[in-house]
Symmetry: C2
DNA sequence: CGTTGCATGTAAGGTGTTACATGATTAC
DNA sequence: GTAATCATGTAACACCTTACATGCAACG
């Protein structure tokens, strides 16, 4: 509205064309901490993994280099112990604005689910019924472990100040895993019925 | 049990090392129809997409070539119209046994979810509250369309003979989308509460 | 008569993984 | 003393997508 506004507007920042993984890594750094590539991998495995896939370690280092070349993150060397150093990365003001601009202008693609267990059930005509139920039961066990991890992540988010959004997402993750456990149980019942009706 | 059993056992078949996408394409052909690459892409978009991602068309043709080289599928040329031909693919006995063997021995990897909307909510501290709610509302609309498509897919599966397993998976897909709609509604409420508390 | 569907690819390039390598430190 | 953790990469390669190209047929 005001003609004299020279503030940095989200729309003013050129939106670099970088893959989704790069935005995710930048997003992790947007919480304001200085992190090593190793730290980012751990965050990724612990949190991102509930709603986005966790890239390989080498990929994270590749993205960090890309982001630094673009000026979206900065790095500095700090002491790790008396002998060795480590490199910590932080988001830059340009990086923050780029992320904001990405948020404001790039619509989310349709979510993608890659569910190997469901693929195997879909191809159930080729499997032994026992094998199928074994796979589903294993999946259920995995879900229980995920649920515990998600709940822990939720507690973490609830205790951090200014983590309202991560807390929202953590609560979504917990409920979505609970729902998948129900669906898995129901699938097991259906599978039993199918196996008995022959 | 019997020593004289010379039948082809799943475990006897060498398990070729091919990517998950190749198994998915082979799986589509395991329902016994002769399909063109184009047909497979359509099946993929219509069905596979509910629980597995749908590969690009060019990727499907690549996988078909790979599968044919391995003898897991065969192709033949048939007339399309008076002028042009088309190539239809069918699974071979070796292909069926390879799939069986894959089912019997390869455990499913952990499911992967790539949910761009959730990633954006997780980074909500960088977004305008309105923009966030817009993204979630758009996602809800998308889910409604998916739900309709999943229900149609379910009806299809229910009317086909010997499609008990696809029917099971379709019913799972319907319920999982319904559950995600609920989670989305609840997310919208939480987002409203967050926006008002400031 | 223009658009959508059918049908099949190639070429280029980007994305991402696996395997490997290194080595000090800390925990058991 | 041995395993796990921290920390950082490189090299090779596989996977997959995008963009492009082609052209008839059928539908409105």
């Amino acid at each position: 509205m005001s003609g004299g506004n020279t503030d940095l507007q989200a729309a003013d920042i050129a939106l670099p064309k970088i893959p989704a993984t790069a935005w995710a890594v930048l997003g992790i750094l947007s919480f304001g901490r200085e992190l090593t590539g190793y730290d980012i991998k751990n965050w990724s495995d612990a949190i991102l993994h509930f709603f986005y896939w966790s890239p390989a370690t080498s990929q994270i280092y590749t993205e960090l280099r890309r982001l630094e070349d673009l000026g979206l993150v900065s790095s500095r060397t700090v002491a790790r112990d008396e002998v060795r150093d480590k490199t910590v990365y932080a988001i830059t003001p340009i990086g923050t604005e780029a992320l904001r601009s990405w948020q404001a202008t790039v619509d989310a693609e349709a979510p993608v689910l890659k569910h190997g267990v469901l693929l195997r059930i879909w191809l159930g005509h080729l499997a032994e019924p026992d094998r199928l139920r074994e796979q589903v039961a294993d999946h259920r066990t995995r879900l229980l472990a995920e649920l515990a991890a998600a709940k822990e992540s939720q507690e973490q988010a609830d205790t951090q100040p200014d983590w309202a959004y991560p807390a929202l997402v953590a609560s979504w993750a917990v409920r979505r895993i609970e729902s998948e456990i129900e669906l898995t149980d129901s699938m097991l019942i259906d599978l039993n019925r199918l196996a008995n009706n022959r």
